[in-house]
């Protein structure tokens, strides 16, 4: 086997191509398809953010909802109570999430919490914050916050009642920025240090890597990108409450797509989102109006989650590096076969 190292800029070239295609694509899509594409890019962005920390730095998070919720609530509270544009709110949310990641990462790593225990720790912290949020008066406790409708389309308020296509371009921009960050990091010293830490912390430290510092940086960066996704969701859905923002299902949904697509690969989260998001929507539609012989499942929530669970088990068992990893091995095998011919 031979792993060919990619030329320096190939991922950027592919990204440029993908961006052009995605930029033009909605011109040929129905309103329904565009709203589906918004969800695909939204999940791909969250997957990118999670992948940076879990895939590259190897710090598996089961509580990414905490960053997501911080982003959603920061921009929403700033907008509703202080009339601050969600664009600024998004940045503020990212900064707050990074600061939260600094404290959380430092505390967990400083006391040597690793592997499964780290994942459980992130889960516990997200749950604590969720419970805290349900009691917090200034974010309207468990009742949640509505983003008031301004009517029509407003770029300043990131609210588009008429044309969903504007949401599409917003999330496309966020997705592209997030992916540029991932690609840039993966090729930099930081990215190499992240991967060294993932492979063997002690060997990394022996090569001069400040393991505590780089692990904490991974959490901060990933948290900030995740918060941006949370702010977008609040503006798209126009309502948040503690469960929507900090709930366990958010944490689970965020990690599903990159795992299926390929953990620690640049394109895994997008591939996972392209596969799973339409599948989820199709399943929901199917459950709403099932054929007669499947009448029992009519209106049952959670069938999509069951299907996700089954896919996840299959992927973890048979494709440990996800679809992108499997595709890569297959490609290498074909190339290898050609080379020996």
């Amino acid at each position: 086997m031979r792993i060919r190292r990619l030329p320096l800029h190939r991922d950027y070239l592919v990204l440029a191509l993908v961006t052009v295609v995605l930029f033009v694509a909605p011109l040929f899509m129905s309103r329904f398809l565009i709203s589906l594409a918004v969800l695909v890019l939204y999940w791909a962005h969250l997957g990118n953010a999670w992948n940076l920390m879990a895939g590259y730095a190897g710090q598996f998070s089961f509580g990414h909802a905490v960053f997501y919720g911080i982003g959603a609530y920061t921009s929403t509270v700033l907008l509703v109570d202080y009339a601050v544009s969600p664009w600024l709110g998004m940045v503020a949310g990212a900064v707050l999430a990074a600061l939260f990641g600094l404290v959380m990462g430092y505390l967990l790593f400083r006391f040597g919490i690793r592997g499964h225990f780290f994942a459980l720790g992130t889960f516990a912290i997200a749950e604590m914050v969720r419970l805290f949020a349900t009691e917090l008066e200034f974010i309207n406790t468990s009742v949640g916050i509505h983003v008031p409708l301004v009517g029509g389309d407003s770029w300043l308020r990131m609210q588009f009642e008429e044309s969903v296509i504007n949401y599409y371009y917003v999330i496309l921009a966020l997705f592209v920025i997030g992916l540029v960050v991932v690609i840039a990091v993966s090729r930099s010293r930081m990215g190499y240090y992240f991967q060294a830490i993932r492979e063997d912390e002690e060997a990394a430290a022996a090569l001069g890597v400040d393991v505590l510092r780089y692990k904490t940086l991974a959490v901060m960066l990933s948290g900030a990108l995740t918060a941006v996704g949370g702010s977008f969701f609040a503006q798209y859905f126009l309502f948040i409450d503690p469960t929507l923002a900090f709930g366990v299902s958010v944490s689970v949904q965020i990690l599903l797509r990159p795992i299926v697509g390929g953990v620690g690969t640049v394109w895994g989260p997008l591939v996972g989102a392209l596969l799973l998001t339409p599948l989820a929507e199709a399943t929901r539609a199917f459950v709403r109006t099932p054929p007669a012989f499947l009448g029992v499942i009519q209106g049952r929530a959670g069938v999509d989650v069951m299907i996700f669970g089954a896919i996840l088990i299959i992927v973890v068992l048979f494709l440990p590096h996800g679809l992108v990893g499997a595709g890569h091995s297959l490609w290498e095998r074909v190339r290898g076969a050609e080379a020996t011919r």
Partner: protein
């Protein structure tokens, strides 16, 4: 001439067991010092103390005039002390080049420069043919070379080598001995733990012998080979000191 590394009265106790007992040792700039001793003599423990992985129970380690006892491993490495591990610890998911690049990033922030430096070191350590292969595909000898290459890429002044020849054939260890000499010729001071006697006699300028955590001899290879306490410490083991 002040020594590059000074170990003074270093002891390490693990709940009742004294792994290293009152060891004092000086390393001169540019020398190769062999550290030998039966299994469990405390060699690796001493390495771990110098490299910052363990804090000693007592004593002090000074590198280039600076006390490094209790410093975390990454800071010791940044000061110029690199180590290899007894059991090679490659980053298996990365290519050989990327493994070495991790080390190169310590002195070169820029990715292109780090890659250039890594490629130089890969050539120097004889891994040129394997640069783009995954580290997991290397042979035992290849892994040992990779350990060396990664450590070397951090541009150390002192290199700690923990059994880089264990498990290799005579030819392979002969090549590693040549490589270590070549590294020393670039101005790196080397402290090497080794079980392969023939190799360490050929390799070292001086040899230090640890036994039950205590340093029982530090001298030239010839003198150590004839030292009665050393022979006694090894009695019943298959090592022979006869230089061939």
């Amino acid at each position: 001439m002040t020594p590059l590394l000074r170990v003074e009265g270093v002891s390490k106790r693990f709940s009742g067991l004294v792994a290293v007992n009152q060891v004092s040792l000086d390393l001169l700039e540019g020398e190769i010092l062999g550290l030998i001793g039966p299994n469990g003599a405390g060699k690796t423990t001493l390495f771990n103390i110098i490299s910052g992985r363990l804090a000693p129970t007592a004593g002090k380690v000074t590198f280039d005039g600076q006390v490094i006892t209790g410093m975390p491993p990454h800071r010791v490495c940044a000061l110029g002390v690199a180590r290899t591990f007894q059991i090679a610890r490659p980053f298996s998911g990365l290519t050989v080049l990327d493994n070495v690049k991790v080390g190169a990033f310590l002195r070169h922030r820029n990715a292109v420069q780090a890659e250039e430096r890594a490629l130089e070191v890969i050539e120097f350590t004889g891994l040129g043919q394997s640069a783009r292969k995954p580290a997991s595909a290397l042979t035992a000898a290849g892994r040992k070379r990779l350990e060396l290459a990664r450590a070397l890429c951090t541009e150390p002044r002192l290199l700690l080598l923990d059994e880089v020849m264990a498990g290799l054939t005579a030819t392979e260890s002969g090549q590693i001995v040549d490589l270590i000499h070549a590294i020393r010729d670039t101005g790196v001071t080397i402290l090497v733990i080794e079980h392969v006697m023939k190799a360490i006699m050929r390799l070292s300028d001086r040899i230090a012998v640890l036994h039950h955590g205590e340093l029982i001899a530090v001298d030239t290879p010839q003198s150590v080979a004839g030292d009665e306490r050393v022979i006694e410490a090894y009695l019943g083991e298959e090592y022979t000191f006869a230089a061939d």
